[in-house]
């Protein structure tokens, strides 16, 4: 098989914008995504909602509707699209291992763009493995993809823009929200970044609008919530917490947790690309140059997978990566790239100015980053924070040694749900910065495939 010019992993705003841009400049492009339709996380299900499910648009709101144009431009381009395709391997030599319809194969590309977006940060609280406890983004995905909302009483807990957005969407859909529990927002710390967020345009007004709509609907709101726990026998029955020194218990059928989103760095880490710890966002991101190029020749990263910047920034980052791919493959020269990308570079920078404010306003709560001993931190292998600390005391020097000794990160999610927590706990126990402690070495396949599929790899 001859190599394609540009292989893109992820059909979210970054990947779609990059694909359209590169294809418009004459590159052969294929976008691989494990979902069945384009849009990524933010615009999940957008084609269906823009078409037959138009009634749901009122609930999902205008920010979601903006995805229509992004997807249309991609569809109008000559870029190829391989949906329902998992990328389980990217090699340094720019070969991709893909899995589609139970068939595994290798694809060669002259350039690779990783646009795998974000994941929700893990929210380890007592009881978070109970059926009835989900991430807020999960509930939102159900709304986007299937037009579904909680049937019974629901509690939203945590912090971050997405939590308020979900609450606003639930309100618009007439959902009975039993309570919104905010685990703490740091207005004082965020204040110095206020001018920047204003200049970034729209972000502040949007956020305040969401909060206002939730308040107006009379949703009970608790601030500075601590000691959050999900309780129930085999199923969630209630949410317990303290707020303002008072212990409370709210019966609920569903608890939606959220502590912000973090870069989904799994694929890049498995190559491995060089990564760095971002203190402000408390997550890892690949080390990139101004054009999104990683330390491995021909492999670039754009969008939230390069560090959280939001959907609008992702579109511009994707376009910038598209121009850079055309330059790297000799379609345009550096001067032409600079000229064409200038508008996107300026817009990208403007959108990123909103981040310091949002990052400072919604820091993940310490009790959720560094949970108490009895809290399960690795859901796959059922390992508690206490077991991790014990492994550290017995000479477990970092995440990889602790993984060997406790089996954290050895399940099928390979650390997506525990990696950050493990690094945080170890750093805390050793009194070292997380950057010095490091993280798991991610190994392929980054998503499981069957022995049979692997044996038949083409």
């Amino acid at each position: 098989m001859s190599a394609i010019d540009l292989a893109i992993v992820g059909a979210g705003p970054a990947g779609l914008a990059a694909a359209a841009t590169a294809a418009e400049l004459g590159l052969s492009v294929t976008v691989f995504d494990e979902n069945t339709a384009p849009g990524g996380q933010i615009y999940r299900g957008i084609e269906a909602v823009a078409g037959p499910r138009a009634r749901d648009l009122a609930v999902l709101g205008p920010a979601y509707a903006a995805g229509k144009a992004v997807v249309e431009r991609f569809r109008a381009s000559k870029a190829g699209y391989s949906p329902a395709t998992t990328v389980w391997l990217v090699q340094k030599d720019r070969r991709l291992g893909i899995l589609r319809d139970g068939k595994a194969s290798m694809v060669e590309a002259r350039r690779v763009l990783i646009a795998t977006g974000a994941l929700e940060r893990p929210v380890p609280i007592p009881g978070w493995t109970l059926p009835g406890v989900m991430l807020a983004g999960a509930a939102q995905s159900l709304l986007k993809a299937s037009g579904m909302v909680p049937a019974g009483p629901v509690v939203l807990a945590g912090n971050g823009p997405l939590l308020w957005q979900l609450a606003a969407q639930f309100v618009a859909a007439g959902v009975n929200i039993a309570a919104l529990l905010e685990t703490g927002s740091a207005y004082k710390a965020a204040l110095p970044h206020l001018p920047a967020v204003v200049l970034a345009g729209g972000y502040l007004a949007k956020g305040l609008g969401l909060i206002a709509s939730v308040r107006k609907a009379g949703v009970p709101i608790r601030r500075s919530v601590e000691g959050l726990r999900a309780v129930g026998k085999g199923r969630l029955q209630a949410v317990e917490f303290t707020a303002g020194g008072r212990a409370e218990r709210i019966p609920a059928e569903l608890l939606c947790l959220h502590q912000g989103v973090v870069a989904n760095a799994q694929l890049g880490m498995a190559i491995p690309l060089k990564h760095e710890w971002v203190e402000a966002q408390r997550c890892w991101r690949p080390v990139l140059d101004a054009w999104g190029n990683s330390d491995v020749e021909g492999i670039a990263v754009a969008g939230d997978g390069a560090g959280i910047g939001g959907a609008d920034a992702a579109v511009h980052a994707g376009r910038i990566a598209g121009f850079e791919a055309a330059r790297a493959l000799g379609r345009i020269d550096a001067a032409a790239r600079d000229a064409r990308a200038a508008g996107d570079v300026a817009a990208w920078r403007r959108h990123l100015r909103a981040r310091p404010f949002l990052d400072a306003l919604y820091p993940p709560a310490r009790a959720l980053r560094v949970p108490a001993d009895d809290v399960m931190v690795c859901r796959c292998e059922e390992v508690t924070a206490g077991q991790v600390r014990e492994a550290v005391r017995q000479g477990g020097t970092g995440p990889n040694q602790v993984k060997s000794f406790t089996r954290t990160g050895m399940g099928p999610c390979q650390g997506r749900m525990c990696g950050l927590t493990i690094s945080e706990i170890i750093a805390d126990a050793l009194g070292k910065p997380v950057a010095a402690v490091g993280t798991y070495r991610i190994r392929p396949p980054i998503k499981p495939l069957t022995v049979g599929e692997l044996a038949a790899l083409e």
Binding site: Q394, G395, M410, R441, V451, G452, L454, A455
Partner: protein
């Protein structure tokens, strides 16, 4: 400065087992190790405690491998008692499966040679034909014609083993500091590691591939090289396999390990899709039903190999206070290292028959 009698450089399975063996004899030891990220075969191996087929061409090694399997049960019990950690050692005997008649003939021949070599001591290994094998290991694929069974073979969780040894070492285990210098000083040797200078009369170099630079500092060219092995591991499966097989085993947690390749690629411990594919294909040849199991991870790790793949135990030429210990099967030999080898180190005298393990064996010019 420390008042240790022994400095063990390397906290993998070899260094940790030796350190533990010295400690349980009441010796004062420090075991120096690197940190979280290191070349560490002890964290990437297959977990077999294996005897069959080992030592053809070196009777001393055949004996040593067998002795280790013999003392492993005692080692296991003691380690569990001391640490409370069950390292899941099981000794049901193991099978080397034979794919086709030619393979079987080859295996039988080498076991016959071993038996001849071992003479009066005998060699426990029998051919189990396919009909009998089906009752013992159900679900094998059509290419398997027989299995070679050795009752001394077993398996263990190598990760739990390393964890238990570190726990047993307690304060003697000093991670996060690679030894960067070794020199002779009055009354022994000093070793710099992690900003600290340790000194002791005796040093044991058991740092895996890290022994190469350490030996070089003492002017000794240790004849070992890295050899990569890749391993696949599946999600947890229902229990179906009671025995360790040479290339497939089911762990206590239920996941199935498949491996491992032999690749001469220097210090690259990555994985390749081609090798992953061939390991998977081999796994299905052994157990067709494995085709539906999901591979959750693959990894590469580096063996520490001498040219003849046998261990090297010796003092560094010109440095009687520095012992080198390195081997290809540090899991299998952990029992012997802890319960026997450490005893030789306590006396600082290797028994006569250990001369077979000296690297001078490579100096002898081979006759045609």
């Amino acid at each position: 400065m420390s008042d240790a009698e022994y400095i063990v450089v390397g906290g993998g399975l070899v260094g940790s087992a030796i350190g533990y063996g010295l400690l349980r004899r009441g010796r004062r030891v420090v075991v120096l190790d690197e940190g979280d990220v290191a070349l560490r075969a002890s964290r990437g191996n297959f977990g077999l405690v294996w005897v069959q087929g080992k030592g053809l061409g070196m009777p001393a090694y055949a004996d040593w491998a067998r002795l280790s399997a013999d003392v492993w049960p005692e080692f296991y019990t003691e380690l569990t008692q001391r640490t409370g950690i069950d390292v899941n050692y099981r000794k049901p005997g193991g099978f080397q499966l034979c794919m086709g008649e030619a393979d079987l003939a080859e295996r039988v021949k080498s076991i016959d040679q071993l038996r001849a070599q071992q003479g009066a001591k005998g060699y426990d290994c029998e051919v189990v034909d396919r009909r009998r094998l089906d009752n013992i290991v159900p679900g094998l694929g059509p290419d398997i014609v027989a299995g070679m069974y050795c009752p001394h073979d077993g398996h263990v969780s190598p990760l739990r083993l390393l964890k238990a040894l570190h726990k047993a070492l307690g304060n003697a285990y000093r991670p996060n500091g690679a030894a960067t210098a070794i020199r002779a000083v009055a009354g022994g040797y000093s070793v710099d590691a992690g900003g600290i200078t340790h000194a002791a009369p005796r040093v044991v170099l058991a740092a895996g591939l890290g022994n190469l630079p350490m030996c070089a500092m003492l002017g000794f060219k240790l004849p070992v090289r890295p050899q990569r092995g890749q391993i696949l591991v599946t999600e947890r499966l229902p229990a179906f396999l009671d025995y360790p097989l040479s290339g497939v085993r089911q762990t206590e947690e239920g996941s199935v390990m498949m491996g491992s390749s032999r690749e001469e690629v220097g210090y690259d411990n990555g994985t390749t899709p081609e090798t992953m594919r061939s390991i998977a294909a081999n796994g299905i040849r052994v157990f067709p039903k494995l085709q539906h199991a999901r591979v959750v991870r693959a990894w590469g790790a580096l063996r520490i190999l001498a040219p003849d793949e046998f261990p090297i135990y010796q003092t560094v030429p010109g440095h009687d206070g520095v012992m080198v210990a390195t081997c290809h099967s540090g899991v299998s030999l952990a029992g012997a290292h802890a319960l026997r080898f450490a005893g030789h180190l306590a006396d600082w005298r290797l028994p006569e028959h250990f001369s077979a393990f000296h690297s001078r064996r490579f100096d002898v010019p081979k006759t045609a």
